[in-house]
């Protein structure tokens, strides 16, 4: 008798399957991948001012949209699709096969990574070509960008899997998850300049990871002279790192302990 395929091989195969499934759902492709670019086109066309010497609103906005792209492709996509899969009975069927749970999660991570990379490339491409967004030139900034991307997407993915236990039904999931994301985007300084928000909004946002991701991305895409205009008069990247790690631990804990394969 042959051996049962190992968890990583199966996880990679599941990733391929997830991407194929995703690509065939036209609505989700448009919503997840094109929507941020559409927002960039709208906001970039409306707000043409510079908000600080050498910083256009588009530059500020692209940093925020990349951060919230991590939330869209990870947290939002998973917290909506996993309850649907559970409602359909697809998760229970998987549970009845020898496929290990870890393979399912590896598949989701692959899907999130691929859609995240596509989204970021599209945002940067459009920003570069149409809105004069400038790419960082220092190696330090790209190092920061890399760890923000890795940690941010891990955090977003694990929290999406964890949050998938919250919606009572697959159909209602979008109604629960989308408003949370949109409100967080407003509070965290994605659509609006963070320091211009009322302090109570800033304080609420500071609890959640999106505000820190956004601020971290600004440290990558905005000149260091802008750091003085942040709330703490600095980029606070150390703090961002700590807070993202904390949320990652929370996300992994609930994903592993509380994940539900069955409706009831």
């Amino acid at each position: 008798m042959n051996k049962i395929p190992n968890a990583i091989t199966l996880g990679i195969r599941r990733g391929g399957l997830e991407i194929r499934q995703f690509a065939r759902q036209r609505e989700s492709v448009v919503f997840t991948l094109l929507f941020p670019v559409i927002l960039l086109i709208i906001f970039g066309s409306v707000f043409k001012d510079t908000i600080a010497p050498g910083v256009t609103f588009s530059q500020y906005f692209v940093a925020g949209m990349i951060a919230s792209g991590l939330v869209n492709t990870g947290f939002q996509a998973l917290a909506i699709t996993i309850p649907l899969e559970r409602d359909f009975g697809a998760l229970k069927r998987l549970r009845g096969t020898p496929m290990p749970a870890s393979s399912y999660f590896i598949g989701k991570v692959i899907l999130v990574s691929v859609s995240m990379v596509i989204q970021i490339l599209m945002l940067l491409g459009f920003g570069l070509i149409f809105f004069g967004v400038e790419m960082p030139t220092e190696i330090n900034k790209w190092i920061t960008f890399t760890w923000l991307l890795l940690l941010g997407s891990a955090c977003s993915t694990s929290l999406g899997i964890a949050f998938s236990i919250v919606p009572k039904s697959g159909r209602g999931a979008s109604a629960v998850v989308s408003p949370i994301v949109i409100i967080l985007q407003f509070f965290s300084g994605v659509f609006l300049i963070f320091t211009q928000l009322p302090p109570w909004m800033q304080q609420i946002a500071a609890i959640f990871p999106l505000k820190w991701l956004t601020q971290g991305m600004r440290s990558v895409f905005l000149p260091d002279s802008f750091a003085g205009q942040e709330v703490a008069k600095s980029w606070e990247n150390g703090r961002t790192f700590t807070i993202l790690i904390a949320w990652l631990v929370i996300g992994i804990f609930f994903s592993v302990r509380k994940f539900k394969w069955d409706r009831d």
């Binding site: 049962i4 649907l84 009845g96």
Partner: protein, 283 residues
């Protein structure tokens, strides 16, 4: 060794006693049908055996393992089992072939994908997206996914609900083929004719207890039950229940001197017996 061995199985949900002390042995290679009305405890029992639910008490061995321990982590155990759940669907953005092919990768010794597609009669739909399948075709896909791993033990929870009669017949033929391979099958069904056509033995379950386990022919004393002979005598239909229908027919033959008008000899159907057992009278 028996494929399934259950003693004293109990399960409650709050105040509701879903399963109240079930004993069950299913031999390797046997096809066993669990019959019972909705809410009788069929699905709870089967889901405990499949490792989806925890039991309150009792002993359960499935292929020599306790599903409570093996169900969560035991890939080797899952590798030997096929499960067709009662209701499953998915977003339907994959084709029949892609889905079955992918699932075949989960097992150490899967069956040939094209053969499985053929055996459930989905040849013409192999390249179709699942969302374009009819209800019956989707159900056949469910069955295909249950058998792709070449299981020693197959659970079928109401597999033919929603099938048209023709699809049901071809499904039965498929199960006969699996019987030929030596697969042990535990089937739950609402359809008495299905149990009669497929099962070596049937167990009737009601209110969380097994009322009787027997062959379909002998259930509820069916094989020894009195036969009912009816015929027309002038304007009136007459009938008589008897242990000796042959001699009654002989007597009638002499009386009518040839053909007996509208003669029928019937024994209680499995359905009659079943309905009596679960306490529903026909008329």
């Amino acid at each position: 060794m028996n494929a399934i061995e259950v003693t004293g199985l109990r399960k409650s949900y709050g105040q509701v006693h879903a399963v109240r002390g079930i004993d069950l042995s299913i031999a390797t290679g046997e096809i066993f049908a669990l019959l019972g009305p909705n809410g009788a405890g069929k699905t709870t029992t089967v889901e405990i055996l499949e490792g989806f639910r925890r039991r309150d008490s009792g002993d359960v061995q499935v292929l020599g393992f306790d599903p409570h321990n093996e169900g969560r982590a035991g890939r080797e155990w899952r590798n030997r089992i096929g499960i067709v759940l009662q209701s499953t669907s998915d977003s339907g953005d994959l084709t029949v072939f892609e889905t079955i092919d992918h699932f075949s990768g989960y097992y150490s010794n899967p069956r040939n994908v094209a053969e499985v597609i053929n055996s459930v009669g989905l040849d013409e739909k192999a390249g179709s997206l699942i969302r374009k399948l009819s209800g019956g075709q989707r159900r056949r896909l469910d069955v295909a996914l249950g058998i792709i791993g070449n299981p020693e033990l197959l659970f079928l929870d109401e597999p033919t609900t929603g099938f048209d009669p023709e699809a049901r017949r071809s499904f039965w033929a498929l199960i006969e083929k699996l019987r030929g391979n030596g697969t042990t099958i535990l089937l739950t069904t609402h359809y008495l004719d299905e149990a009669e056509a497929l099962a070596d033995r049937v167990g009737v379950i009601n209110n969380g207890q097994i009322i009787e386990i027997s062959t379909p022919a002998e259930l509820g004393g069916r094989s020894t039950a009195q036969a009912l002979v009816t015929w027309r005598d002038g304007d009136a239909m007459k009938s008589e229940a008897t242990d000796n229908p042959t001699s009654l027919v002989k007597k009638l033959t002499a009386q009518f001197d040839g053909e007996i008008p509208e003669l029928t000899v019937t024994r209680p159907s499995l359905e009659d017996i079943y309905l009596t057992m679960i306490g529903i009278s026909r008329e």
